[in-house]
Symmetry: C2
């Protein structure tokens, strides 16, 4: 898989579009100077290209398999994971106290894009480890942290998140896994979980499961769910690995893509109960999970961005090489010279840039929320992070699906043949809008929790910033500034309308509103980048202004239609005849 880490472009988006330069100018990222950032991104790029990308096709072909001894990953994966951990990549933004580099989240997220481009199925494993480590760091007892965290930050032990059950997916309130107190501070778990990513594998010495379960007598619904830690091997007090815990993978899902990532059916407690310890307080398990949800959703959005970048690179390369048909004066021109192929390529590249800029902006907001001293500024940054997170997840994943499908199309018949790789990208990308909260749930989160709950304050502040970008673009980028200004107006109007809308109206409006919001933020960031380029910002891609104009014409132009859909779409959806078909 021929992936070239776009180090310069990532640095430009981080610095001039996503706000990292501002963060540094405010003295909030002094630990990340130019040299360190360059070195970090360059080394990550080499690792992604040299270590992970070569295993991407093999992982798709061989996949992970289940043997009597547990899950066996694709040959090469265990060694690559070990080397990757030894490079320190598992702890870029983790606390130095536990062995992490302690760098800004933005730096970590930039490297995460590269792991995902190189090998999305591989990159899932550390994302899960980080999620589990974050939950433990925030809610675990000092004893649990001392026992587990350092090895999870180094990557020597990996993490798994065991939430879903056959009847409890998007709605965890009905989950049934049981936890029984043993009396010595530990618990025993009994139940079955499905869709447990890297729930078992052979890449690390131990696997630390965070499991949602119910205690005896717990209230029904979401208020009776607790969070537990259950290690595959129970560590002795000296840190060495003790006996095997009572849970195992009893099946692997046969999926459309990310074949190298084992999606396990996990059975807990078939032989007396899986030993576990409570994380956080009883019956507050869902709240514990929510505190790490922003980060997990951002990381998931990056999977879409990463696959989109890979697809885009490969489509450009193919379109330069493949010659078919006359274009201009050439009898058989490279297909990139055909306007409709160029259109697809610019779609791919501008969407990838926009989704990357949104994801990186979310990460910078996270850093600002953690690092600002002033409480009001912290709160504002935190609100920005919360607002951008559903966009980062849903738009990033929608872009992954759309761009990878365009990648197949640019390849023509060869794109449909598995040997080319374009099909793998499309199959891999298709999961991302589904897990870690479906995109429909992201849309509801956006309208209900992020926009309406604070009376539109956070949304309006962001919209105001983008309006200023549109104004600055007047007369400079062809129609882009005007289209951005119109889209900002449309978004403003729908936002005001949402604040007074009924719940059914809001829910019906949610998805078109999310798409409209993503277009405006993505378009605003592209225009900001193009203006920075015009003003001589170093490292601006040569086609930055073209991307902004193309995105404005192809996406921002749809703002009015999305507003119509958001405001009036509830009509048909609430029509008594609407769902009559196939009744």
């Amino acid at each position: 898989m021929d992936y070239t880490a776009p180090v310069d472009e990532i640095r430009f988006v981080l610095g001039s579009m996503a706000g990292l330069d501002d963060l540094r100018a405010d003295g909030l990222a002094d630990d990340l100077d130019d040299d360190l950032l360059s070195a970090l991104l360059t080394e990550a790029g080499k690792t992604a290209q040299g270590l992970l990308a070569p295993l991407n096709v093999a992982g798709d072909k061989a996949g992970a398999t289940l043997s009597g001894q547990g899950v066996v990953t694709t040959p090469g994966f265990p060694a690559a994971y070990k080397a990757w951990c030894e490079g320190g990549w598992n702890g870029v933004d983790a606390e130095p106290e536990y062995g992490g580099m302690g760098l800004p989240v933005a730096a970590c997220i930039a490297t995460l894009e590269m792991w995902n481009s190189a090998n999305m199925a591989f990159a899932l494993c550390p994302v899960l480890t980080q999620g589990a480590a974050d939950a433990l760091a925030l809610h675990g007892s000092d004893d649990l942290k001392a026992r587990y965290l350092e090895k999870m930050v180094s990557g020597e032990w990996t993490g798994a998140m065991a939430l879903t059950e056959p009847s409890a997916g998007s709605d965890l309130s009905v989950l049934r896994t049981r936890a029984e107190p043993v009396g010595d501070g530990s618990y025993k778990l009994f139940g079955t979980k499905i869709f447990i990513t890297y729930g078992d594998h052979d890449m690390a010495a131990n696997i630390i499961h965070l499991v949602l379960a119910r205690l005896p007598g717990a209230p029904a619904g979401t208020k009776g769910i607790s969070l537990f830690l259950a290690p595959k091997f129970i560590p002795e007090t000296d840190g060495s690995l003790g006996r095997r815990n009572d849970f195992r993978a009893t099946g692997l899902e046969h999926k459309m893509g990310i074949h190298a990532s084992p999606t396990c059916v996990m059975s807990y407690g078939d032989d007396g109960g899986a030993v576990a310890w409570l994380v956080g307080r009883e019956n507050e398990g869902l709240a514990c999970m929510f505190t790490m949800m922003n980060r997990a959703r951002l990381s998931t959005g990056l999977q879409g961005v990463g696959v989109a970048e890979l697809s885009t690179q490969r489509a450009y390369a193919y379109a330069r090489e493949r010659r078919q048909g006359r274009a201009g004066t050439e009898a058989t021109a490279p297909i990139i010279a055909h306007p409709d192929v160029a259109r697809m390529l610019l779609d791919m590249r501008s969407l990838t840039f926009a989704s990357r800029a949104i994801a990186f902006s979310t990460a910078v907001a996270t850093d600002r929320a953690r690092r600002e001293q002033d409480p009001a500024r912290r709160a504002a940054a935190s609100a920005r992070e919360a607002l951008l997170t559903p966009l980062a997840k849903a738009f990033g994943s929608d872009v992954g699906v759309e761009v990878s499908s365009l990648g197949v199309q640019v390849h023509g018949g060869m794109g449909y043949i598995e040997e080319t790789g374009a099909a793998q990208q499309m199959r891999d990308a298709r999961i991302v809008p589904i897990y870690e909260g479906t995109n429909g749930i992201q849309a509801i989160d956006l309208v209900s929790r992020k926009v309406v709950r604070d009376g539109g304050a956070a949304a309006k502040e962001l919209i105001g910033e983008i309006a200023a970008v549109a104004k600055a673009a007047e007369g400079k980028l062809g129609p882009a500034g005007g289209l951005l200004a119109e889209a900002v107006s449309a978004l403003s109007e729908v936002t005001d309308w949402l604040l007074g809308a009924s719940e059914p109206e809001r829910l019906a409006a949610a998805y078109p509103y999310l798409t409209l919001f993503s277009y405006v933020v993505g378009g605003g960031l592209l225009v900001k980048g193009a203006l920075a380029g015009l003003n001589g910002a170093p490292g601006a891609p040569a086609d930055m202004a073209v991307l902004a104009r193309h995105f404005a014409l192809s996406r921002l132009s749809h703002a009015g239609a999305l507003a119509v859909q958001a405001r009036q779409g509830a009509g048909p959806l609430s029509d008594p005849q609407a769902m009559a078909a196939y009744a």
Copy 2:
């Protein structure tokens, strides 16, 4: 695979939306009375459900394989094909002279949708046979027709179209397969073809290849290509099968989907030359192929419609059954009760209806073009058929991809698991925008040959008809009539602009223009159907008006944006910086 043939809906779309009732009222389809149409569609539905659908998953899993004796299809396919042919389904609209039923093309196309829903990989085989039989009927000598046509109409022998070579895909001008005259009226072929669908298999006694090749001394480019017929087994004069011809499948492509359909690498003439006969005149092979292209493209569009229908049915069924989360007063409601799920379902169903209506309208135009006595009416119908064909192919296939992807999303995590089937539909559908002329090529065909060449006459006539539908809808379907009228205006304006645009502008505008045109025609037909329902037309689906309104809000609302893209999109595409990335 649980598919229920939507017989009543298909009949309604045929009659009240696509114009079959008008055709019959004009006395041009007296061979297809109500009873016959009902019986035909009902029987086809039963055959699709009972014979083909049960093999759909097996075909995906087992696929076709290559053995020393040639291609082996999925167990069950040969017997199903035999039974299907015995039902007479291979010749619904073929000439009675050769054993066909001689019914209108529209009737045949309606059954084709069902074969594609039930088992797209299976349905490809007869589509190829029909393409080859059509080319033979139009251009073959009397001797060739007498020898081959009857068995191809019955399906006893199948057909294959051997056009593509590794360097000659969309651009056939550079193909290199050679034909040498033997001196007895026959030729010998030498060369390699790729992507030959059902080029070899074990479902029929003989396979008749139509092969594009160059004669010695033929002019370079498209004007030096001739069409040849080469049978797998050379028939004796008594019709029995004689010796094996000198061509074979040397490889099968490993594809993303339609695994049961063998995509062959074919080698001709490794052992002295494949025996073949000229079809049509020397060096006019491409022209011969073009005469059957409209039908082939329509049939391909139906694949998208068929898969979209299957995905839609399965998504509705899953959304009624799967319970997650509160909706209204229900603590755990079926997910169809969640507005964003309902939005996806209405997207799926309205898109499927619109693409079906466009495809069926194309078929009715074909029938009118063949059956009208008046030359001017024939010509007008023929122009309508030509205009609608790229919409039927490209929009039908785009709908197949979009709807099947939504089908995965509605299923949530289960959609990504292969066992559910939703993933198979998405993988199967993804080829359709690529083959039989990529959708980009359809778009160029639309703007260049179908709209600009006649000064916009055919386009304007159709647009005028839809404007009248919009007017009739005023005050009757909520915002649908107004949105349709606005979309008609946008399409009119872009059409006028296209007539004066430069070639690069036209080519850059082609795809957004095609989408805009498809939305207007599809939306117009949905509104027409909804009005017919309001006026008491029998058999109208209960949600017809809802579908029209939803399509108007979700698709017609985008007309203005598509017009902006079409008219201004060439700017970025022709920018010197546009393709600078990854240079």
